[in-house]
Amino acid sequence: MIPFLSITKKLKSLIISTFLVIIMISGLQLKAQTPEAEKNFQACKVCHNISGPKLIGPSLSGILERRDKAWIYKFVRNSNEVIQSGDAYAMKLFEENNKIPMPPHNLTDAQIDDIIAYINNGGKVAAEYANAAATEKVSAEDQMAAEQTAQDQKLADMKRDANRNFGTPFYITIAILLLVLVDLFVTKIIKAKFVHTVIILISLFIIGEITYKEAAALGRQQFYQPDQPIWFSHKVHAGQNQINCLYCHSGAEESRYAGIPANNVCLNCHSQVRQGKITGTVEIDKIYKAVETGKPVEWIKVHNLPDHVFFSHAQHVKAGKLDCVQCHGDLKNVDVVMQVENLSMGWCIECHRKTEVQFADNKYFEAYKDLHEKVKNGEVKKVTSEMIGGTDCMKCHY
């Protein structure tokens, strides 16, 4: 899979390149820096920057100043042959780049010319093509952006609601309460005592309500979204590139902890993908740095539960067959992870009360003979987690 390209984009470049091939066959002279060059350059991009730091191989800007085209054609198609032929420059290159040979690429002269033009243009497709492609992209990207904005808006709303400052109403209520008390005992302006009583009761209720809300939110971290040491985007990985959550968080099916992938898991892809679309090489380089220095990346834990709560991912993901989205929100559209649920005990219990278990399918539940009988009789329509003890204390606290 070619990373950092959305599916739609890929499809589009495919259509365009097919179109171009037809044109080529019809014998027309190919113009430089077509979108095809951009597509072909993906293979080069793995090891080469256009400008900027050296990756596995050298950066390619100004390549024509260094070598002639004939040499480039030969070297791109089969670098090994050139090296073995005793070409001094090729041998020097090979030595300089840790003796990693460049893999052969089956490209025509015209395609290579096209790529060189693309490189000389600073990695941009010629204006005429770019415009054409851009218009096609617009509608789909717009839609996605709109979705994203809606999502962001929703989250922001929730965040605002939850963090709404109750301070002002709280102080106003206290002030009213005091005023009424003063009037009751000192000034005695209002003659009807029941007015005092009603106002006192109402203000006490409001004060109580606000205090309870504030107190209950103590220690909870809803909408916690810390800056991570690496600007890692779930949107790019899980959304655009459709990487399964369990590929990186493999512990979720077996252990209490979903786990944060070790650097070697990152490197499975990032040994090839050296440059990100949004952040360039800056963020990805941090993975290499960690490996080089032997110091693992210190991520900041977003979803925290108190020590006396035992939550098992395996129980929910493997046995309960829940989707990650249910607790973590739609991370496919979010760059930086935020805790969207409040993770309170009430929230847990609520779900345990409603969620149906795989009662009929999983042989484990065969031990519940009475319950099976009731399901058969139609006494029980669906078996929830609560019915098999999902709300007992010692299911989570021990």
């Binding site: 220690g219 490996v291 693992p296 990346v297 834990k301 129980q315 003979k369």
Partner: protein, 992 residues
């Protein structure tokens, strides 16, 4: 001047240091005392300001509600087979020079946190004992040496090696002598390493020095079979077992193995109707004696005479001419006849330290044709191979200046050698002294160089516990400190740089692979054996000669009657917790109640009530024994009248906190006569000393207050009526009615069945429970205030004559009542009933009213008077007298169990974390749980499989089958609490 504030006159006048043992708990004084503990008695203005400031500060912290930033740090490179949060188990072996056990080490996220028995081993078969269970805490001992030391100061391995190498080479060049002193080596690879060292330094020798010696058995076998060895005993092959002061269930040779064998044919479940019979002769009260069907009190000096008489009687029964032997105080004619009738199906063992006595025991077993059936002579037990007089000779040589270098490998003679002063003097005359002790000890500080050994959980090793029974030790963690395996050190000094794993593997590849069948390559063999932990080759040793009677008869004719009959004799023994003192710095073991006296944190002089009356001694009174040690008296019913006992292994001086100063070192009383260590003394003096000493006992009660808490019967009655002794159960059942409808548990209904007949009271379960459930250690002062925290306790009851009672034991933990009295009284519903029949405890809901504790008829709930494990946010709540909250010690905590803060109740959860874990496995695999899959820590540790756990709703489960057994009853069932724990009546075999 500071002012004194007081609330009442009493508070002023009462001297709180004065004794409080006579006061019932909960009276006004103890309440006052509790207050005093919490608040400073002289609260000053400054204290007030401090408190005020603290309150403001904490309020500010709480209100700012800043959550701490928690980090999640992944592996750099994820190791294969390690999933964070999932425990890995590694097969290994525990051997500390005394006990052997084949084990599995549970490693959670890189930390070994629990030891479990290895079921593949046919020696220990999955059983463990208290010390094995506790050994994991030794890994995190604060007193471990962190670096090699040279003359007391830290140095590097390179430095130490250079110094030692140059000194050794100068000794070598002048032809000097280096002695390696070690406990018995059962590891072939370690032995090979020592041998390489000895070869590199000609003239050097290796001495095996055992704190607990079996010298006498070795010498006796040498005389009768022509080879010094300890045979393999088969207690399951014997219908009648006679033990003459051999505590084979507790401390004698291989107790885990023997407990398993012994119980194999004493279990009356699964249709078995036969039971072996155990007769025990002893002076003190041992675990074996208290489990015997018949216990006969004799003084240690009489043991030999009793053995002689028994042998003589058997000779007569065999038709041989008997000798004229002085009569013993007990008549053994009847016993001889009983043994004779069980010829070939009996076993006589003795822990006596006299070669002549052991010779006659050999003679008895030979006459009874036990060799070949209950005693296997071609498979040898490899522990305790040390011959005592070798060490004695060494000490003499050291004092004569004939030893140039000494390497103390895992031994501590400066503490446990009977004449330790001579050893210490001798050590000063040795030019080069090296100790490889990993833990601080009395000998190591005297040595010039300390080259700390790894803990066994950090080491590679192998062992051959019995002929052909091999096992491997593998590291479960990288060495925590800058330590190095002693074997590697020895080889290094011998000029070889080796990887000891490779060294062990080479031995297995070259020697053991040849003995195996069914493996194509040595690597396949090694890999599988490393996984299993054990290899049993089935090889045998051939003895040079058949049984020779000459020495036996010679021994018999040597026997003289003991002259003095009224003198007081002292028996020195090791208990099941601290043992020889090697593990004295282990708080779990120190707080473990003695299975007989229930004493924690001390050793004491056990005196029979009759003798105490005669000498005018009182409980907890200080006395001076033989003018050497001052020790408190504990009245011990069952003690032979003129025999007093003291446990060895206490009184460490340089072992660290908590061991230092706990108890008295009784090794100094020991005699060395005839080349063998004497574990008893004749004619001792007991002199009253002013003062008394508080003894922390977890059970001061000895009676059942007329309630049928333990139900017992005899085999005879059981065979006619299986429900005998348990008649009350049937009587009570019809009366159990309730206004409420009995709730029915659907699906899983957890229950536990405990076979009182199988429980020996060894305490392995108590330590296993502490390790599994992060049960705090509270220290002696708190135990004195009855605040011990063990979730499972083993109650011990006496019955009959106070001077010669019978002993009964009963493990008690939370009974998980279906009508739980505790649940009804909790004002905050912190303790409720689960849908799986468990009585749940939610610590974070508990507000500490202790109503539940008060309402529990079984007294199994424990209250955290302080924060003992460092769980609290507030430092002031912490009470840690035994250094259990250091970062190092806390590494042993089980991350699957919450550590409890101050002010909450806790209790047995039936290891709910294990239940949840296995349930999840079954759910994930979409299958039903199978019986026995879930095992609480106590049941798993039990060497006799006395504890059975399972689903009561599954009628084929072991626990359901036990629950319909006629022997099953529930504790205080008349209260209609409907416990989920059932007990099977104790059956004594009186048929003889």
């Amino acid at each position: 001047m500071e002012k004194k504030y007081f609330k009442s006159l009493e508070e002023l006048t009462i001297d709180f240091q004065a004794e409080n043992s006579n006061r019932p708990v909960g009276d006004k004084q103890s309440l006052l005392e509790m207050q005093k503990e919490v608040k400073s008695s002289d609260a000053s203005r400054r204290d007030f300001l401090k408190l005020f400031g603290f309150t403001v500060a904490s309020a500010a912290i709480v209100s700012s509600c800043q959550q701490p930033v928690r980090k999640a740090i992944p592996f750099l490179i994820q190791p294969e087979n390690i999933i964070p949060g999932i425990a890995n188990y590694y097969a290994s072996s525990f051997f500390d020079g005394i006990d052997y056990c084949s084990i599995l080490v549970k490693v959670r996220d890189g930390r070994p946190i629990k030891i479990e028995g290895n079921k593949l081993s046919s020696v220990t078969s999955g059983g463990t004992n208290a010390r094995t269970q506790a050994s994991v805490l030794g890994l995190y001992d604060n007193a471990r040496y962190r670096n090699p030391k040279s003359s007391g100061s830290d140095t590097s391995w390179e430095d130490v090696d250079n110094h030692i190498a140059s000194k050794l080479s100068s000794i070598k060049s002048k032809g000097g002598k280096v002695v390696v002193v070690s406990p018995t080596i059962i590891s072939p690879s370690t032995q090979a390493a020592i041998n390489e060292f000895l070869t590199a330094y000609p003239g050097s020798t290796h001495i095996q020095y055992d704190t607990l010696s079996s010298s006498a058995i070795l010498k006796a076998n040498e005389k009768t079979f022509g080879k010094a060895f300890i045979p393999s005993y088969q207690f399951d092959k014997a219908e009648l077992i006679v033990s003459i002061n051999a505590d084979f269930l507790g401390t004698w040779l291989s107790p885990i193995e023997y407990s398993k064998q012994f119980m194999k044919n004493r279990r009356l479940t699964e249709g078995q109707r036969k039971m072996s019979r155990l007769i025990s002769f002893e002076g003190g009260v041992s675990l074996t004696g208290s489990n015997a069907d018949k216990r006969i009190q004799i003084r240690p000096s009489e043991e030999k005479l009793v053995i002689a008489n028994l042998y003589n009687e058997l000779k007569k029964l065999a038709g041989q001419t008997g000798f004229d032997v002085a009569a013993a105080s007990v008549d053994v004619k009847e016993l001889a006849t009983e043994l004779w009738s069980k010829k070939g199906n009996s076993l006589v063992v003795s822990g006596n330290d006299d070669t002549d006595a052991q010779l006659m025991v050999n003679g008895i077993n030979q006459l009874l044709e036990n060799y070949g059936s209950s005693i296997i002579t071609d498979v040898h037990l490899n522990i305790r191979k040390g011959i005592d007089d070798q060490m004695d000779a060494l000490v003499v040589e050291m004092n004569a200046g004939k030893v140039d270098g000494i390497i103390l490998y895992d031994v501590n003679p400066a503490y446990d050698y009977p004449q330790k002063d001579q050893f210490i003097n001798g050590l000063k005359k040795v030019g080069l002294s090296i100790s490889t002790s990993g833990l601080a000890d009395e000998s190591a500080i005297l040595a010039t160089y300390i080259c700390p050994d790894n803990h066994y959980l950090e080491s590679w090793n192998d062992s051959e516990i019995k002929t052909g029974f091999y096992s491997l030790t593998q590291p479960a963690i990288r060495p925590i400190f800058t330590t190095r395996q002693a074997q590697v050190s020895l080889l290094k000094w011998a000029g070889k740089n080796v990887d000891f794993r490779q060294y062990v593997q080479n031995y297995w590849d070259s020697i053991l692979f040849a003995k195996s069948t069914g493996y194509l390559t040595a690597t396949a063999f090694w890999n599988e054996k490393l996984h299993d932990g054990i290899f049993e080759s089935g090889e045998k040793v051939n003895l040079p000669q058949a049984f020779v009677y000459t020495a036996v008869d010679q021994a018999l004719s040597n026997v003289k009657s003991s002259t003095k009959t009224d003198s007081i004799e002292l028996s020195l023994y090791v208990n099941t917790s601290v043992g020889t003192g090697k593990h004295a710095n282990n708080p779990w073991l120190q707080e473990l109640p003695d299975p007989v006296s229930k004493v924690t944190w001390d050793n004491y002089l056990a005196v029979s009530p009759a003798l105490a009356e005669q000498l005018g001694l009182e409980d907890e009174q200080l006395v001076k024994v033989n003018n050497l040690i001052t020790i408190p008296v504990v009245l011990q019913p069952g003690q032979e009248k003129n025999t007093v006992s003291i446990a060895l292994g206490y009184g460490r001086e340089n072992a660290g906190i908590p061991a230092n100063g706990v108890g008295q070192n009784a090794f100094v009383l020991m005699n060395l006569s005839g080349g063998e260590k004497r574990y008893w003394l004749n004619d001792i003096s007991i002199e009253k000393v002013a003062g008394e000493f508080k003894i922390a006992r977890t059970q001061t009660h000895h009676s059942m207050e007329g309630r049928a808490i333990i139900r017992e019967t005899t085999l005879e009655e059981y065979l006619t009526d299986p429900s005998s002794g348990n008649e009350a159960h049937k009587e009570i059942l019809p009366h159990l009615t309730s206004l409420y409808e009995q709730r029915k548990v659907d699906g899983l209904n957890w229950a536990m069945s405990i076979d009182l007949n199988a429980c020996t009271g060894c305490n392995a379960c108590v330590v296993a429970c502490s390790a599994e459930n992060n049960v705090p250690v509270v220290g002696k002062d708190q135990v004195l205030m009855r605040r011990d925290m063990h979730w499972i306790r083993i109650d011990r009851y006496y019955s009959g004559d106070v001077n010669n009672p019978e002993f009964l034991r009963q493990p008690v933990m939370c009974q998980h009542c279906d009508n739980a009295p505790c649940e009804n009284v909790c004002p905050v519903a912190a303790t409720t009933h689960s849908n799986e029949g468990l009585n749940q405890m939610a610590y974070n809901r508990c507000i500490g009213t202790r109503y539940c504790n008060n309402n529990c008829p079984y007294k199994v709930r424990r209250f955290n008077y302080f924060d003992f494990t460092g769980a609290d946010t507030f430092q002031g709540n912490k009470k840690d007298e035994v250094e259990m909250t250091t970062d190092l010690r806390r590494l042993v905590l089980n991350p699957d169990v919450t550590i409890r803060a101050k002010g909450v109740i806790e209790k047995c959860s039936m290891c709910v974390q294990r239940i949840q874990e296995k349930k999840l496995v079954a759910k994930s695999e979409e299958r039903q749980l199978f019986d026995g899959e879930i095992m609480p820590a106590c049941g798993q540790a039990c060497p006799t499989e006395a504890i059975v756990f399972g689903n009561l709703n599954d009628e084929h489960s072991k626990v359901a089958i036990n629950f319909v057994n006629e022997r099953t009853y529930h504790l205080l069932e008349e209260l209609h609490t409907l416990p989920s724990v059932g007990y099977l009546t104790k059956v004594k075999n009186t048929i003889g």
